[in-house]
């Protein structure tokens, strides 16, 4: 099992990663020419100096960096947004993170439901045409970018059959197409992993024993084989979550969903230093804790895994 010591080390590791990432982003953002206050006309040097002073951007870089790090790690204050000036970065994230999380969770549920179902179906009908069809579809699924899937979904379900609304997020119906577009590629991966895992387990001796005891195929599949076969799927959930979060960047744009994704690109391209760093911090924390949680879950599921990871 995982000891408190290793857990602590891992948590420290997460903090270290955040530190590294924020430092890299800080350096990159300040290397972007143009500065944060360019919008089409040259501004008087005095006005620009006033702006920079107001946001503490005129201090020497190391000083800005130290002050920023102090605010982030000691006070949890991610600073003001330079482009959304009525908001602090914390407020922007507080408003958009739940939206992105909602979408991400729904996409993950779609991925799990479709992926596990299809994987089990393929494994049960191994070698048959169902298997070929499902696996062919899964190969296609991991090959298609989510924006192509989104395009096809919109084409069919918004413009052809008019079943779903196109944009915004005001009702659960608005979540259906984005979740599918976002989750489908991961459903494909999960299906492939689950099928392989099931087949591997089904080939082992104790399963043969269970079968010999007279259990039916379906019972064997679900009662005995599913849990160990879930292992590769569980270890995939970490990367999947990361992928879903970055994928939501595009999907949010297509369906005009006001989540963190829209802030992601905008803040970087518009040199909104504080918001960009804030988004990247939240994202890094999410991904690393998800990886940690996945490792823990893995250890719980598989007694063979020792504390060291």
């Amino acid at each position: 099992m995982i000891t408190p010591r290793t857990l602590l080390l891992r948590l420290l590791g997460v903090a270290g990663i955040v530190l590294v990432v924020v430092t890299v982003c800080f350096a990159l953002m300040h290397a972007v020419p143009g500065g944060p206050f360019d919008d089409g006309r040259d501004i008087d040097p005095a006005i620009k100096a006033n702006l920079l002073a107001r946001y503490d951007l005129d201090a020497p870089l190391p000083q800005q960096y130290v002050r920023y790090m102090g605010n982030v790690f000691l006070r949890g204050d991610l600073g003001p947004s330079l482009k959304l000036r009525d908001y602090s970065v914390n407020q922007v994230l507080a408003e958009s993170l739940p939206v992105s999380m909602t979408l991400g969770v729904c996409a993950l549920l779609v991925a799990l439901a479709i992926g596990l179902g299809a994987g089990a179906l393929a494994a049960a009908r191994r070698g048959g045409w169902v298997d070929t069809l499902v696996m062919g579809g899964a190969t296609l699924g991991i090959s298609l970018p989510n924006f192509v899937i989104a395009g096809l979904l919109v084409l069919l379900f918004v413009f052809h059959w008019r079943l779903f609304p196109l944009t915004g997020l005001t009702s659960p119906a608005h979540l259906v197409l984005p979740s599918i577009a976002l989750g489908l590629p991961f459903a494909a991966s999960i299906a492939r992993l689950f099928r392989t895992g099931l087949l591997e387990v089904l080939g082992e001796d104790w399963i043969r024993t269970a079968r010999a005891k007279g259990l039916t195929g379906r019972a064997v599949l679900w009662r005995h084989a599913a849990r160990p076969a879930m292992l590769p799927v569980v270890s995939f959930l970490g990367p999947a979550l990361a992928g879903i979060l970055s994928g939501s960047l595009v999907v949010e744009q297509i369906f005009a969903i006001p989540g963190m994704g829209s802030h992601f690109v905008d803040s970087a391209l518009n040199a909104d230093y504080y918001l960009a760093s804030g988004v990247v911090i939240v994202y890094t924390v999410l991904v690393s804790t998800a990886n940690l949680a996945v490792d823990l879950g893995y250890a719980l599921l598989d007694p063979r895994v020792e504390g060291s990871t």
């Binding site: 143009g34 002073a53 549920l109 944009t167 915004g168």
Partner: protein, 558 residues
């Protein structure tokens, strides 16, 4: 760990996830559709009039606040706002504004001249860091006030409340368009108590106190802003709309779909590629804008900070050749295809009281002759040059067409370089380009907003060009109280500018709006300003523009 515990763990995790999803959705239920809904193009950068910039901000700010004057929805001329009348001294240097007695803040407080004194000085204060402060530098002491460092503050500018209901402004030079300038959203008053109570984040829903025709009810970031008619606004009986929703959806296709499906009543700038299928629709409102799209030539040859470099663009004949080779009409009509009109002046058409100087018509033969004269017959020996433009699809199509025209007519090859806007701007300011796509949109209805750009060394000149005669004319015109003589001086300056070929105007920018036919009071105008205060809707008497029944998948391309 037993299997059952594990199962419940997994179930618990899934349940938690669903709960999260439910919380995420909570509070996002649909409110009843507002009387009027529109696409605001993007999220406003701020609802603080002093610090906000940009058109989406302005649409909301004009609803939440009202300045001394407000723009006429049809002509942009200044109408009485909080000031019911104003007068100017004979030398044009002193203005007195008389405030109406019934102007109220949304919390019931009266709006006084002291509010304006505080707010206008605040715009100019270095601590506010307003980007639009320069617009008021015509006020005595204003420029010094903004430019003073924190260590040596300057005395406040000459904006003084004479009484609760009278504001006096002294100017350094006659500014006949001051009343019009003060209708700009930046110069709206803000409630001092609200600012002092809440600090920099005073503009959030629930905190913001305004004096405009509407109040802020709800704001969801990058989603929507909801406004409702203010019960304390002095002209509340003239405001027809009870509630308004402004959507922040950024994608232009998304906006168009929202409009066509009847979710909104107004969208700005439909995609140019679809203009052809929209043309002729009753709900398409197109008109000239106070904006010019033009090319800048780097007459310095290289970075402005360095010594001039050898470059063909230092030769005015080359610049003239490149400009004359462009068929402005074809570029405006066949490439832009959004109703743009070719422009043969730098100051756009339509300014009241100003007739721009004109360019000669395009002439390929003369262009080729000029190029040969400059030493590059048929483009031979002409170096490959950079043609810079900001990243944007429409701009790209335009620049590709321009490059193709030069290749075809003059045999010149250029490299198209595109950059994100901020970077593009930086490159033009520093002179890191040969030819650059450019656009300028005027701030107010006066030729100075265009011609002051090109004074020698001006921050927005960005061509390296300069001419003392031009500088003198612009300076003289700025101080000229006589309106007709002033216009003549500006016209003379414009002629010098055009003859130098440091810029090549191509077309006048257009305002394109899709407005549902049930909307009344929407007028095309040069500044593309459409105050919500003056709009109204009629009940679905004449449904059109897809407001009732959405078109089929194969399109109702009319």
């Amino acid at each position: 760990m037993s299997r059952d515990r594990l199962t419940s763990l997994v179930a618990g995790a899934l349940g938690l996830a669903l709960l999260l999803a439910a919380v995420g959705l909570a509070g996002r239920t649909t409110a009843p559709r507002a009387d009027f809904a529109f696409c605001n193009q993007s999220e406003p950068s701020s609802l603080d009039p002093a610090v906000s910039t940009g058109v989406p901000d302005a649409r909301i700010l004009r609803a939440l606040f009202e300045g001394l004057t407000r723009p006429d929805p049809a002509t942009n001329a200044p109408l009485p706002g909080v000031a019911e009348r104003w007068e100017t001294s004979a030398d044009g240097l002193e203005w007195r504004f008389h405030l109406r007695a019934d102007a109220r803040w949304s919390n019931g407080d009266p709006v006084t001249a002291h509010d304006f004194e505080h707010s206008l000085r605040r715009v100019l204060s270095p601590a506010t860091a307003s980007r639009n402060a320069y617009l008021l530098w015509c006020v005595e002491g204003a420029r010094e006030y903004t430019r003073a460092g924190p260590d040596a503050p300057a005395p406040p500018p000459a904006i003084d409340a004479v009484s609760d209901r009278e504001l006096r402004i002294r100017l350094v030079r006659p500014t006949p368009y001051l009343a019009s300038l003060l209708s700009y959203y930046t110069f709206a008053p803000i409630h001092r108590g609200c600012l002092e109570e809440h600090g920099p984040l005073w503009t959030q829903a629930g905190r913001l106190v305004g004096n405009g025709p509407f109040v802020l009810v709800e704001r969801r970031l990058r989603d929507r802003i909801r406004l409702e008619r203010s019960p304390t606004y002095w002209g509340r009986d003239e405001v027809a709309l009870g509630s308004v929703t402004a959507y922040a959806a950024a994608g232009v296709t998304t906006q168009l779909n929202m409009y066509l499906l009847g979710e909104v009543d107004w969208m700005v700038k439909p995609p140019p590629g679809l203009y052809a299928s929209l043309r002729g629709r009753e709900d398409l409102v197109v008109g000239g804008q106070l904006g010019t799209t033009f090319l800048r030539f780097n007459t310095h040859g290289g970075a402005f900070a360095d010594a001039p470099r050898d470059s063909p663009f230092r030769d005015p004949r080359v610049r003239e050749a490149l400009a004359l080779a462009l068929d402005r009409r074809a570029l405006a009509e066949d490439v832009m295809r959004g109703g743009q009109e070719p422009l043969d002046s730098f100051v756009p058409n339509g300014l009241p009281g100003y007739e721009p100087a004109r360019l000669p018509p395009p002439d390929v033969a003369r262009a080729r002759a000029l190029l040969a004269e400059a030493g590059y017959p048929d483009g031979r020996g002409f170096p490959r040059f950079s043609f810079l433009y900001p990243h944007n699809e429409t701009t790209r199509d335009f620049c590709e067409a321009v490059a193709a025209a030069w290749r075809r007519t003059l045999g010149l090859e250029c490299e198209l370089v595109n950059q994100v806007f901020g970077v593009y701007l930086d490159s033009t300011v520093q002179g890191l380009y040969d030819v650059a796509w450019s656009a300028w949109i005027g701030d107010y209805l006066d030729p100075s907003t265009f011609l002051e750009l090109f004074v020698t060394g001006g921050g927005n000149n960005r061509t390296g060009w300069g001419d003392p005669r031009y500088d003198a004319l612009v300076e003289e015109a700025g101080g000229e109280p006589d309106v007709a003589r002033r216009a003549a001086l500006y016209r003379e300056a414009e002629a010098i500018l055009l003859a130098a070929w440091c810029v090549a105007p191509v077309y006048q920018r257009v305002n394109i709006n899709l407005v549902s036919t049930r909307v009344r009071g929407f007028h095309d105008n040069l500044l593309d300003v459409h105050p919500l205060r003056d709009l109204s809707v009629v009940p679905d008497a004449a449904p059109r523009g897809g407001s009732a029944s959405p078109a089929g998948p194969d399109g109702a391309a009319r």
